[in-house]
């Protein structure tokens, strides 16, 4: 008989469940449930006290009903009562109910927390585990507040049972994920690291998970874990599979622990210590060698566990990106997997190779697998595998293979699943642009894209091709000829009509010499598509027609007839009607000179970033690429305002400007893009951004922000409310000139027009002014990129400008009573951020005062009952809002520690200010 015979069947529950299963219809089920709910309610309300068993049974029924998808609005109290039962099963059901149906009802939370507290102190490991599980399952802030300081104690106490240690470690991990600010760091962290040496592998596994998470935030505190992790890993890797007893999984030694250790090591750079480093390399080699050994079992579990470790080892090799031999071995191994009969392995090999492709050591090795990947694109049955193949082709693409890869992607596009078409279109468009050597190829590629997958070509893509054609006169004639030919097709996609209309309107004259594409032929061709198009496209075509009138006076009469027709002049759509009327009028009254001026060829678009890239990033979601949101939110000046610098037609509606004014669209996302076209030597991302002196500027505004042998950069800045002005002084320390000097500040800053001279004489100094506006609260400071030629070499320097949130403080004086009233109003848990930290500098009252004043707040005397403490208040000004802020700093001379508390109405502001200020003492 199965083990359940020892269990605690609840007959009533089983009957109820089978009743529900016997219900023939949804209505019958709802009816049965309502009957049960009424029954339970009456039992709970009844005069007779329920015994533990019945209470458990009813709570369990409620849980079942809830899990079926019905709302439950009572029974919480009974569940909480079960928590204090001393019968295990009753307690267990109580905890399960609480975990599944958390209720933010504050009274209840207090009761729950009390019950948990009792169990945590019960010294009964089973009860302690239940309580820890409940905290981890709920993971709410209230619970974190109540227990975050207690759990580390349990974790490192000498007499704690192993199973409780495991629970405590993972519980702490969960709390650290939800409320990292509430988990206090302290001396326990050092002892947690030593759990890596524990005899019990379960404890080691749990501790490794915890340390990995904590180390990502405070790598320095957990540095010592690296050597311990390597040692542990080495012992596992070299152990015979039976050594680890039950931690061997299908003949693989402790796969979970191995993977976790390898993950932990990915939080750090390669070890500097040579011995340690070679020991780690040995481990990784052993893992790679094992992949070549014959399997010890035919079971899929064996190969999965073994390969899981292998893939994690490869991830570490890629992360370190420093051992060329290992990288190439990893690449070869993945190459084998590319042709494995297990679909899962092919999928993972493609995925893993994607990251490998970006390493300079292995990029070439990855490229050797191109044919296999292309083949996968054609033959894989599973769409998710094909998608990975597309990703990999995209990642391995460079100038040498761009034409082939783009061609393959284009031909795959014809049969690709609808779900991934848009992404492929974007990728093709980006690659074609990035690696275009000759732009005729680029134009052909994009037109092909429109032909094959017109519906998936977003506005960004066709805007971009127009921008490029307008900016490059060597391709304009070809573009005109090609669109003209493409438009000959009887059915062509509307996006092609748009591109065709725009390009012929601008450059139709370049092909008008050929009688087969004479002006009239061009016009008739375009106009034959007119009636099949949507309103925005028709509006664009009308604009193309008026451009034709300017380009080709000989078709003026024909076009005027078209504009004059009722279907245009009396069109029901106000936009079309207005264009027809205005263009007709313009063509009648304006002299040829005026017409030529008004309808002149579009000026080149400012070389702006490709908005296609942004679109791809957006599609990929936040996980795939670094989060760009912050940089967009940061000190932002012009970008958001430039939305509508309008053209000639004041009266027209918005859609009109959009159609003509191509560059107005991408502006909202523009600041976060990389200009794939720029030929300038190195993209800023490649240079290390200097931020060494950055922290010195938190509490002051003037000083030297950067200095090397050649150049010194000094700053003077002043701030008022949400505006600031920064004077940047570039000092040439050498005796020779700096040539082609340029500095580009981030797009978020308004830069004063009289910017930098292209030359700085030896020993001279040059000044530049930056205007700054804080639009909303932000974290990341802008980066100033400087480029100049010294001697023969081009110098690139990037400096993080000390523009921090606290610069936009206005100090606020207030009385003690006001202060405490506001302090109380800002009492919600997310509004407060607190940090306890060790003093880095001598604890001097006057210095501290100066720093707090320099931070930007008013220092309030006589507010805190303890005169040793500091209390401050101020308001952060941003363009959109103002954020009030209160702070309190409590020095503890004996312990050489501070406690800093910040309360503001915004949690992001509290958090950022706390980080900035706590670093200063």
């Amino acid at each position: 008989m199965p083990a359940v015979s020892k269990g605690d069947g609840m007959r009533g529950l089983a009957v109820f469940i089978s009743d529900i299963r016997n219900c023939k219809s949804k209505e019958a089920e709802v009816k049965r449930i309502n009957k049960e709910l009424a029954n339970i309610r009456s039992k709970f309300k009844g005069d007779k006290a329920l015994d533990g068993y019945s209470k458990k049974k009813y709570v369990c029924k409620l849980l079942f009903i809830f899990l079926l998808g019905h709302d439950i609005d009572f029974g919480h109290m009974e569940a909480v009562n079960l928590l204090s039962s001393n019968k295990y099963t009753e307690k267990q059901i109580g905890y399960l109910f609480i975990s599944v149906l958390v209720n933010s009802n504050s009274d209840l939370i207090r009761l729950i927390n009390n019950a948990i507290k009792n169990d945590l102190t019960s010294r009964n490991p089973t009860f302690m585990n239940l309580a820890l599980h409940c905290i981890a399952n709920v993971g709410s802030r209230e619970m974190a507040e109540a227990f975050a300081s207690e759990i580390p104690r349990i974790l490192v106490a000498g007499d704690t049972m192993d199973s409780v240690k495991q629970s405590a470690a993972l519980c702490l991990l969960r709390l650290n994920r939800t409320s990292p600010d509430l988990v206090p760091m302290g001396e326990w962290t050092a002892r947690v690291v030593h759990l890596l040496n524990d005899q019990h592998l379960g404890v080691v596994t749990a501790a490794t998970s915890l340390i990995t998470t904590l180390a990502q935030k405070n790598p320095d505190d957990f540095k010592t874990s690296v050597s311990l992790a390597v040692a542990r890993l080495s012992r596992i890797v070299t152990s015979a599979s039976i050594d680890l007893q039950d931690y061997t999984y299908y003949f693989v030694a402790a796969p979970w622990l191995s993977v976790k250790l390898l993950r932990l090591l990915q939080s750090y750079p390669p070890p500097e210590d040579a011995a340690l480093r070679s020991r780690l390399t040995e481990c990784l080699e052993t893992i790679l060698n094992k992949a070549q050994e014959p399997p010890k079992s035919k079971k899929v579990q064996h190969s999965n566990a073994k390969n899981a470790v292998l893939f994690e080892a490869i991830a570490l090799i890629i992360h370190h990106d420093s051992e060329p031999t290992l990288l190439v071995r990893a690449c070869n191994q993945l190459g084998q997997f590319l042709q494995h009969r297990e679909t899962n392995l092919r999928y993972l090999a493609l995925e893993s190779m994607c990251t490998l492709a970006s390493s300079e050591f292995s990029h070439e090795a990855v490229k050797t697998h191109m044919e296999t990947v292309i083949n996968a694109l054609k033959t894989e049955r599973d769409v998710s595998v094909r998608q990975r193949a597309v990703d990999l082709l995209y990642a391995m693409c460079d100038r040498s293979n761009a034409k082939q890869i783009v061609a393959e992607m284009l031909s795959y596009l014809e049969t690709a699943d609808y779900s991934i078409r848009e992404e492929i279109v974007l990728k093709v468009a980006i690659l074609a642009e990035k690696y275009a050597v000759d732009y005729t190829w680029y134009v052909d590629t994009i037109l092909n894209l429109i032909r094959i997958a017109g519906d998936y070509v977003s506005e960004e893509v066709w805007y971009r091709v127009i921008q490029i054609v307008i900016n490059r006169d060597d391709v304009q004639g070809y573009a005109a000829k090609t669109v003209f030919e493409a438009l000959q097709a009887p059915a062509c996609h509307e996006n092609l009509v748009k591109v065709g209309g725009y390009i012929l309107g601008e450059f139709g004259n370049l092909i008008a010499g050929d009688s087969r594409s004479s002006p009239l032929v061009q016009f008739n061709l375009l106009h034959s598509k007119f009636h099949l198009c949507s309103v925005p496209t028709r509006a664009l075509l009308l604009s193309a027609y008026i451009k034709f009138i300017n380009l080709f006076p000989e078709v003026k009469a024909t076009i005027q007839d078209v504009l004059r027709s009722d279907s245009q002049l009396r069109n029901a759509d106000v936009e079309l009607q207005q264009r027809a009327v205005e263009y007709l009028r313009l063509s009648c009254i304006a002299s040829t000179d005026i017409l030529a001026t008004v309808l002149e060829e579009m000026p080149p678009f400012p070389e702006r970033e490709s908005s296609i890239l942004a679109k791809l990033k957006k599609k990929k979601g936040p996980g795939k690429l670094p989060d760009m949101d912050d940089s967009r939110r940061s000190v932002n000046g012009s970008t958001e305002h430039s939305e509508n610098t309008d053209t000639t037609n004041k009266g027209s509606t918005h859609s009109f400007t959009d159609v003509l004014n191509l560059n107005s669209t991408p502006s909202s996302g523009a600041s976060l893009l990389i200009d794939v076209f720029s030929e300038s030597s190195a993209p800023p991302a490649a240079i290390d951004v200097s931020e060494e002196n950055f922290p010195r500027f938190v509490c002051k505004n003037n000083g030297v922000i950067y200095e090397n042998q050649l150049l010194q950069i000094g700053l003077k800045s002043e701030y008022r409310q949400n505006l600031g002005r920064m004077y940047v002084f570039y000092g040439n320390k050498t005796s020779t000139q700096f040539l082609s000097f340029s500095s580009s500040s981030p797009p978020q800053l308004n830069v004063h027009p009289k910017a930098a001279d292209p030359m700085i004489e030896g020993g001279a100094q040059m000044q530049q002014i930056l205007n700054i506006e804080c639009v909303s609260d932000f974290r990341d400071a802008p980066v100033l990129n400087i480029q100049f030629r010294y001697g023969g070499t081009l110098q690139n320097i990037a400096v993080k400008l000390p523009v921090m949130l606290n610069k936009f403080f206005q100090p606020t004086e207030m009385m003690s009573q006001d202060f405490f009233q506001r302090w109380k109003q800002l009492g919600a848990p997310q509004q407060e951020v607190q940090k306890i930290f060790k003093a880095k500098h001598p604890m001097d009252t006057e210095v501290t005062k100066a720093k707090i004043l320099g931070f930007g707040v008013a220092l309030l005397d006589g507010v805190d009952p303890n005169p040793a403490n500091f209390v401050g208040a101020g308001v952060i000004h941003t363009k959109t809002t103002q954020v009030g802020c209160l702070l309190r700093l409590e020095p503890n001379m004996q312990a050489q520690m501070y406690r800093l508390t910040l309360r503001t109405s915004r949690d992001s502001v509290s958090q950022r200010l706390c980080e900035l200020l706590s670093d200063q003492f």
Partner: protein, 156 residues
């Protein structure tokens, strides 16, 4: 790990475990997305899917689909083995587990999962130790068995 779902071939949810807090609306949407996505997969496809920024790892055991969502840096193959280990534990406890066991003993299925995973991380990878602690907690229980009779009625 973010969540674990068990559902039948008909898309009936049998177990849901969430490792991060989420609103009921989000949960319902995820359940809907997962069941439609996973059930639409052809046999012998790979066991991994990309869904938003998460990796979805699923596997079918008899009539039940086990579907696990993990963060993008997690190891897919090992996630697959987490599912397998859970199935082994259920098997050991129920003796050749079937969907009915999980329906009628849903609370047990949750308890076993809790012994094995916690806060979205694996807590104990040793099968012996997990089994021992599950058995130990059963010893703490008062023995009454009505469920078995019902199970037999259902099966015959």
């Amino acid at each position: 790990m973010r969540f674990l779902l068990l559902f039948s071939r008909q898309g009936k949810l049998r177990l849901q475990k969430w490792f991060t807090s989420m609103s009921d609306r989000e949960k319902k949407k995820i359940i809907r997305d997962m069941t439609t996505m996973v059930l639409a997969r052809q046999a012998r496809s790979c066991n991994f899917l990309q869904w938003k920024d998460l990796k979805i790892i699923y596997k079918r055991y008899a009539s039940l689909y086990f579907c696990l969502a993990v963060e993008s840096q997690e190891n897919e193959l090992l996630a697959l083995e987490i599912i397998h280990r859970y199935v082994e534990l259920l098997d050991k406890y129920f003796g050749n587990v079937c969907e009915l066991d999980i329906i009628f003993n849903f609370e047990k299925a949750y308890f076993i999962l809790d012994e094995f995973l916690m806060g979205g991380e694996i807590q104990e990878t040793s099968k012996q130790i997990v089994n021992r602690s599950i058995e130990a907690s059963d010893m703490l229980q008062e023995a009454v068995t009505a469920y078995l009779n019902i199970k037999f009625q259902k099966c015959t």
